[in-house]
């Protein structure tokens, strides 16, 4: 289809102006203008205000916990998410479809509900916490537990469709040439699903960095130790410290977007290297 023919279709189906206009207007009112208000507020901060913010130990600790905890949780999800996807795609077992449907639970369960449920389980007197010799809830470990919960479906759902498409005949060929199962997994399956694994990892990471509801109940929220960045934004707001809240929010937004761009770049590079 030529570009001219395509341009012709625009005239066939009416309503281009109104639908695109309404879309842009609603998008601007609901998303773009509010986000611009945040960036404007940040742009209005003086250098000394930024300096004070950036040297605030409490804020730096909160950012370290949010990003570090999210990194650890996304890594654990990368391993177990891959395992879950592998088992769901490759091994038929009774009840597989129900288990597959349940993987989406963290998407559907309101975060506050997840938060109090995880706390009930992992608190020192909870079902799981009781069995452990060390404290999980009300420590940075608890933060990680909530972040694992919230990020798991991203990894599983990213890998599943790609794993289904991996041509098993390649693995058969490898085996007939003498490769072990582990070798054919490492050299055939893993490279094929690596981009999907990276996508899932980064989605889980991004979600965990910003996560609030499921974390704050289990975290203990001790400043400098188990206080996440989103909670510190709320605390600053409650102290009517708009500048402080804006600064943390801006840093989080910028770092998250930079990471997303980086991941997109890596994937594009990977696609080009693999020849489409």
């Amino acid at each position: 289809m030529t570009a001219a023919a395509r341009a012709g279709f625009r005239r066939v189906i009416p309503g281009f102006g109104p639908t695109l206009g309404l879309t842009l207007a609603y998008l601007s009112l609901v998303v773009l203008i509010p986000l611009a208000a945040l960036l404007m507020k940040a742009a209005g901060m003086t250098p000394s205000q930024w300096l004070a913010t950036l040297s605030d130990e409490r804020m730096l600790a909160a950012l370290r916990l949010s990003f570090g905890g999210a990194l650890a949780a996304a890594t654990i999800n990368g391993v177990f998410g891959l395992l879950v996807a592998w088992v769901l795609v490759r091994y038929p077992f009774p009840g597989r479809k129900v288990v597959d449907a349940m993987v989406d639970l963290p998407f559907a369960l309101p975060t506050a509900v997840a938060g109090i449920a995880l706390t009930a389980l992992w608190a020192p007197n909870g079902w799981i916490g009781k069995l452990l010799p060390f404290k999980v809830a009300f420590t940075p470990l608890g933060v990680m537990i909530a972040m694992i919960f919230i990020g798991l479906p991203f990894v599983v759902r990213s890998i599943e469709p790609v794993l289904e498409d991996v041509d098993q005949e390649l693995e058969e060929a490898a085996a007939s040439l003498g490769a072990s199962r582990w070798q054919s997994f490492r050299m055939i399956v893993l490279p094929a699903i690596a981009p999907a694994l990276l996508t899932g990892f980064s989605l889980a990471f991004a979600r965990a960095v910003g996560e609030y509801g499921s974390v704050i109940f289990i975290a203990g929220n001790l400043p400098g130790v188990s206080e996440i960045a989103p909670l510190l934004i709320v605390t600053r707001l409650e102290q009517y410290d708009m500048v402080g809240a804006t600064a943390i929010a801006t840093i989080m937004l910028l770092v998250s977007f930079a990471l997303l761009l980086l991941v997109n770049g890596v994937q594009k590079w990977h696609r080009e290297r693999m020849g489409g």
Binding site: V30, M102, L105, S158, E172, Y212, I233
Partner: protein
Amino acid sequence: MARRIATGDPTPVRWLLITVALGFLAVFLVLPLVAVLAEAFAKGVGAWWVALSGEDSRAAIRLTLIVAAIAVPLNVAFGLCASWAVAKYDFPGKSLLVSLIDLPFSVSPVISGLVWVLLFGAQGLLGPWLQAHDLKVVFAIPGIVLATVFVTFPFVARELIPLMEEQGRDEEEAAIVLGAGGLRTFWSVTLPNVKWGLLYGVLLCNARAMGEFGAVSVVSGHIRGLTNTMPLHVEILYNEYDFVGAFAVASLLALLAVVTLAAKTGLEWWHRDEIAASRRH
């Protein structure tokens, strides 16, 4: 049944991997759900019912329903509009538009609430003007609706855009050529083609709208009986050590989640071809 020896794993490995995977899912997915129910009914069905039928709980349930009843239709209208514009026409900047529609998913819920405080709060850009006209947005229901709309903004659109793109433009063009108007074409051709995908998006949008916590928490002001949604009520009760109350309200939200999952799975089984192939979350 001949098993492909080369791609099948030895039975012990298979069982080990299945056991580890299911164990992980049991600890992280099943146990939290069981814990909600166990705690909610810890003091019997009577205590559960008392907690739910209290004045504040009923007000929270009412507000959650009202907010969802405003936010979901708004985002459905937008989703239909945006997916039609993106799928049925070519224009420069289309991929940028699609990325912008997904933007709220990569913003922390707390920031999704904060932006409204910066716009409409007492110290916000439009704060003084609102105060002069005696209008209240933040710490009132409009703020809760706006925060919810922001957070649930992409759900319907991102479900419909790939679906409508897959279906192409031929049927619409045929309808137009045969003399149907734009709206008629939409109602009689496009909408029937995407109805299951639309329902799928609405389910996810609604679940998030009713369950949103972070964004709503920032703009609500937590006024009991007035600006408390169900998830916020869970937090208040929990912080007051009313665990049966908190888990009772949480059990309703968990029920919503399970019903949403079941309906969503049903759609995926029975209408797989009529929801977007490139579904992701």
